[in-house]
Amino acid sequence: MSSTRTVTVASSQGLHARPAKLFVEAAQASGAQVSIAKGEKSVNAASILGVLSLGVERDDQVQLTAEGENEEQTLDSLEQFLTTDHDEAS
């Protein structure tokens, strides 16, 4: 069982610096096996080095895939995270 959705990233710093760290923390906290992909490359969303190496910029489209219990709920919360501009908030 796994489900995937495509999300457009809103953070003005993309997934660098603080937003990347917060995203990885959220993915780790979900307890599900989550991967994030940009183009051909897919990485473990619990890996900050993996996430950083995607080089995700603002307005990039990424695919989130979750496996495990509550996968829809996990994807909902991660999607919400990615569509919020965290630099504005901080």
Partner: protein, 563 residues
């Protein structure tokens, strides 16, 4: 009294126990492990957990931006992708040390290839890797120590990142073995008002926990202080702190002679702090920040906006804008990025601008437009001028674009010696002491092995400044200083004594320089400058000036009363 000497940054004083910065562990060799893969895995896991916990604990203490950086580093240490890469190597029979070293290096290379922000994270990763390797070997963690109490940090030298993250509640003072007065450590220490002495060759002999006094004003580390000395240091520290809190007044000598104190700014962002610290204008606004990370020259409109935001903060005050200072020494694809054997002596500064006149014209246009919409008194100057013709050409071009006050930087001995001819053709001179010292001493200011020559106290440099000061007095045209020399309080007094009218420095140095100027009259400043000029070496010039200043202050405080 055992004393080690070096070059003091500012006049701060501090006492406390030494804590040494540990060097990074040497890179591990590719050897077969004598342990089982399972045993190595356990060792690595333990070391990683320790390092992550330490980084998180430091993050909690540091707070703010540093907390995010340190927590991100802790996450890197525990990264699952990295652990897979380490595990693969352990299965192949490598040692824990080597597996960590190689796996981290692989990720470092990936991040470096991505460049930009990620490239910068590559050094964070190296730091984590070195910490894990040190932990595996049972060595102290490399980098700034955290003994849990206030300490005097002793290091070979500090990376800019180390200096930026220093916990100023704990680090009482900084002593480095390497480095000169214009090394980045000295510049950052001055910017953050950290008591520091750089270039203390004998500091290698200081041991962990040893009590020392760091007296930056005297450039001395006192290694076996008496209680009396410790008490005196404590009293001077308190007086120094009070000085920083003193009300902000315009820069002036004891007799009321005005010496406007201006700020050196490198971006529009730092204006607020400069105003808060009492900058009476800007003596050096570096425009490079707009150009250095660009693939093509910024548009007139982009430049106008950036200049305007600085000018707006200083209504009615002077803002001296320096035309783009780049080229061979700071290569830009649209200016000059041709490799040269001696970039400091090459096509740079005004030379590069004259070879790409449109870039200079655009900059002058943007500046003139920004001037229109604000009330600041805009001055413009050219960097790296070596001939009178260059000064003349730049001045004409600036006037053509509607900029009323145009001048040049004096950074090359040839133009300092021609100061009278120079000032009859341009409106002002601003002495850049860092480059002037570099060119006078023929010592690359970026090269550690010749750092000891990069000392603006050298009498040869002072004599050149005397030429410019004298030409300023004779012509009635202003002469400023906008190099590191202006931020050294006693040297600031000497500069004024040599005929300099304004001093420009990093904003953090303003309070100390303001306080020192107030101690001396113009006549005394001239006397102190004359004394320094009699010296044969930089060290003697500094000592002679110190002695002359002390004598002058005592004369003022206790006037000779006839009995």
């Amino acid at each position: 009294m055992p004393e080690l000497s070096g070059i003091g940054v500012g006049r701060g004083i501090a006492a406390g126990p030494v804590a040494r910065m540990s060097p990074p562990p040497p890179a591990p060799a590719d050897e077969a492990s004598e342990r089982s893969a399972a045993a190595e895995t356990e060792r690595v896991q333990k070391a990683v957990a320790e390092v992550a916990a330490e980084l998180e604990a430091r993050g909690r203490t540091a707070g703010g931006m540093a907390r995010d950086v340190l927590e991100a580093q802790a996450m890197m240490a525990q990264d699952p992708t990295l652990h897979e890469a380490v595990a693969t190597r352990l299965q192949a029979g490598k040692t824990g040390e080597y597996a960590v070293h190689e796996a981290f290096a692989e990720f470092r290379a990936t991040l470096e290839e991505l460049g930009g922000y990620l490239g910068e994270r590559a050094s964070d990763l190296s730091d984590v890797s070195q910490r894990v390797i040190a932990s595996l070997r049972g060595l102290p963690a490399p980098g700034v120590p955290d003994p849990g109490h206030p300490f005097i940090l002793v290091a070979e030298d500090l990376a800019p990142a180390d200096t930026a993250l220093l916990n100023l509640d704990q680090v009482q003072a900084l002593v480095t073995i390497q480095g000169g007065p214009t090394s980045h450590t000295a510049i950052l220490a001055r910017e953050k008002s950290i008591t520091a002495i750089v270039g203390v060759a004998e500091a290698a002999s200081l041991t962990e926990g040893q009590q020392v006094i760091v007296d930056a004003g005297a450039g001395a580390v006192i290694t076996e202080p008496t209680q009396e000395q410790l008490d005196e240091a404590q009293a001077r520290r308190a007086a120094h702190a009070a000085q920083a809190e003193a009300p902000i007044t315009p820069g002036a000598l004891a007799d009321g002679t005005a010496v406007p104190l201006l700020a050196n700014l490198g971006s529009a962002k730092s204006t607020e702090k400069a105003v808060a610290l009492g900058a009476e204008g800007v003596g050096l606004f570096r425009t490079e920040f707009l150009f250095l990370s660009a693939d093509e020259a910024p548009s007139v409109e982009e430049q106008r906006e950036a200049y305007q935001s600085v000018l707006e903060a200083f209504p009615g005050q002077k803002v001296v804008v320096r035309a783009l200072d780049a080229g061979a020494d700071k290569p830009l694809s649209f200016l000059n990025d041709a490799p040269e054997e001696n970039p400091a002596l090459g096509l740079r500064g005004l030379r590069a601008l004259m070879a790409n006149e449109q870039i200079l014209r655009d900059q002058l246009t943007a500046l003139a437009q920004a001037q229109e919409s604000t009330e600041a008194d805009v001055w413009v100057m050219a960097p790296m001028v070596s001939t009178v013709e260059e000064a003349e050409a730049f001045t004409a071009l600036a006037k053509e674009h509607g900029l009323a006050t145009a001048g040049v930087m004096v950074e090359v001995p040839s133009i300092a010696l021609m100061a009278d001819e120079l000032l009859s053709r341009t409106d002002f001179a601003s002495i850049g002491t860092n480059d002037l010292t570099q060119y006078t001493m023929a010592a690359d200011r970026l090269l550690g092995s010749v750092a000891s020559l990069q000392d603006p106290w050298h009498p040869a440099v002072l004599r050149l400044i005397r030429e410019v000061g004298a030409a300023g007095i004779a012509s009635g045209k202003p002469v400023g200083v906008c190099g590191e020399a202006a931020a050294d309080p006693l040297l600031a007094v000497v500069l004024v004594g040599l005929g300099v009218n304004t001093l420009s420095m990093s904003p953090a140095a303003l309070a100390e320089v303001r306080a020192e100027l107030k101690l001396h009259t113009l006549e005394q400043a001239r006397g102190i400058a004359a004394a320094a000029l009699t010296a044969a070496t930089a060290g003697q010039a500094r000592e002679t000036a110190q002695q002359a200043a002390q004598d002058a202050v005592q004369d003022t405080v206790q006037p000779a009363v006839p009995h």
